[in-house]
């Protein structure tokens, strides 16, 4: 008898972690007990599974997204495996929707008990094949973004791409996207998630790959989730990191703590409300030299006062 024929499905293929799925597929293909690995997409997974005569279904990511599809594939398969990567953040939904799988692997050890004996801890890993997969990074992991910012800072300022004819992606009930749409038409996924969840620092660049944030909106008022452990500390970090990255910041706050660290008007712009912020952003986008000068001033002050440089 031949080895396993696996259909591998990335449950969230639009994230920058899709390269991990490719690395897993690469590793499975090298395994002596695996005959075939097919990386499928939501649209063709069922048809592929049947047409190719596959016998094993491996879902990577989470069980919540497209749960009916995952359930059908799991029932079709002789062996169905779920490898969750969103525990503990989506643990409750993963536990709930993982019933249809024969075995569950979770990336988070503290979440194993929640599956009541159906799950095994399996951390994520690395791949020697990563260099040839690295083109799959659509935007750099967070620790690298400041470096990317700095590299781009020296380049001529480019306006973010704007496609007036493209349909706006308007998440239901998200009125706060109006500000972003007025400038860029389509908010990025990152912006959408950040705003929806009340993140303090919000990049409103069109996309990291087309334009590193030349202008960032910083909400210093308390909009963080009630469950945040240390919102002030984290907001300050975002403030410093954006400044260090060379991002020009517009801050919206009635009582900004930021005055302790930066000078309004010279290193950032201070606004009392969204409307004023929108006008300020529009004004600064029309004046790239002024914007970059303030960004550079903020970065220089950050370097002088609050940063630690790691040599390479």
């Amino acid at each position: 008898m031949t080895g396993l024929s696996i259909l591998l499905l990335d449950t969230e293929p639009r994230t920058h972690n899709h390269y991990i799925v490719l690395a897993i597929a690469d590793a499975l293909r090298r395994h002596p007990d695996v005959a075939r690995v097919v990386v499928a997409h939501h649209g063709d997974a069922l048809a592929t599974f049947v047409a190719e005569g596959l016998d094993t279904f491996l879902a990577f990511g989470g069980a919540k997204m497209h749960a009916p599809l995952l359930g059908r594939l799991a029932r079709l398969a002789r062996l169905s495996i779920l490898w969750t990567t969103e525990d503990p953040y989506e643990r409750s939904s993963n536990v709930r929707f993982s019933d249809c799988f024969d075995i569950v692997f979770t990336n988070d050890r503290s979440s194993v008990a929640a599956y009541e004996g159906r799950a095994v801890h399996l951390p994520l890993a690395a791949s020697p094949a990563l260099p040839r997969l690295r083109c799959r990074f659509r935007r750099p992991p967070f620790p690298l973004r400041p470096a990317l910012h700095r590299n781009r800072l020296a380049q001529p300022c480019r306006q973010p791409e704007h496609d007036p004819g493209a349909p706006a992606r308007r998440p239901a009930g998200q009125d706060r996207f109006a500000l972003e749409r007025s400038f860029w038409g389509r908010p990025t996924c990152m912006t959408a998630r950040s705003l929806r969840n009340g993140a303090a620092a919000t990049s409103i660049s069109h996309a990291w790959r087309t334009e590193v944030a030349s202008c960032s909106l910083y909400r210093a008022s308390s909009r963080a989730t009630p469950t945040s452990r240390r919102p002030d500390r984290r907001r300050r970090r975002a403030l410093f990191e954006t400044a260090l990255a060379g991002g020009f910041q517009v801050m919206v706050s009635p009582e900004p703590e930021v005055r302790d660290y930066y000078t309004a008007g010279a290193e950032f712009l201070l606004c009392t409300g969204d409307a004023e912020a929108a006008e300020a952003i529009a004004s600064m986008l029309a004046a790239p030299e002024k914007r970059l000068a303030q960004a550079r001033a903020a970065r220089a002050r950050t370097l002088a006062n609050t940063s630690t440089t790691i040599g390479s």
Binding site: I24, H31, L124, S127, P141, F142, T227, T308, I310
Partner: protein, 144 residues
């Protein structure tokens, strides 16, 4: 990222502490994320911001990774990199070897299939038998 890490003496790994995407949950993840393993495989010494002790299960502190708890630790590590570059490179080398030995997706695939009890000539598998014992430490080293 691999290129950046490979070119760096030290890589600051802030783990999940500043995870923007998951900040709203205010939930610390126990297990180190994939970047930890990728940086090790790239051959860089990591300064790992310690939020839990599970990192000790995957890399040996001081020998394969440097644990930090704040800016002072970072400063000390930088000073050490300047004073003892060979020691820093040795840590990176040991971490890379460990990653190649224990933390590749080939290792994970092996582990996964082992736990699934896959046998080419067996069609019925009783998965209740798969959960006995310690499933944390990889038992099989796989050629990569």
């Amino acid at each position: 990222m691999a290129d950046h890490a490979a070119a760096a003496w030290l890589t600051l790994n802030i783990g999940r502490e500043l995870d923007i995407a998951n900040r709203r949950f205010a939930l610390p993840q126990a297990t180190p994320g994939p970047r930890t393993f990728e940086v090790a495989l790239s051959g860089s010494t990591q300064l790992f911001f310690t939020t839990g002790l599970e990192i000790c299960d995957v890399f040996e502190p001081e020998r394969e990774i440097l644990l930090i708890d704040g800016p002072r630790d970072i400063a000390r590590a930088i000073e050490r990199a300047q004073d003892e570059p060979a020691a820093i490179l040795a840590i990176a080398e040991r971490a890379q070897r460990r990653a190649l030995r224990d933390h590749t997706y080939a290792c994970r695939a092996q582990r996964m299939l082992d736990l699934c009890g896959f046998r080419p000539d067996i069609t019925a598998v009783d998965f209740r038998d798969l959960f006995a014992g310690d499933h944390v430490t990889p038992q099989v080293s796989v050629r990569v």
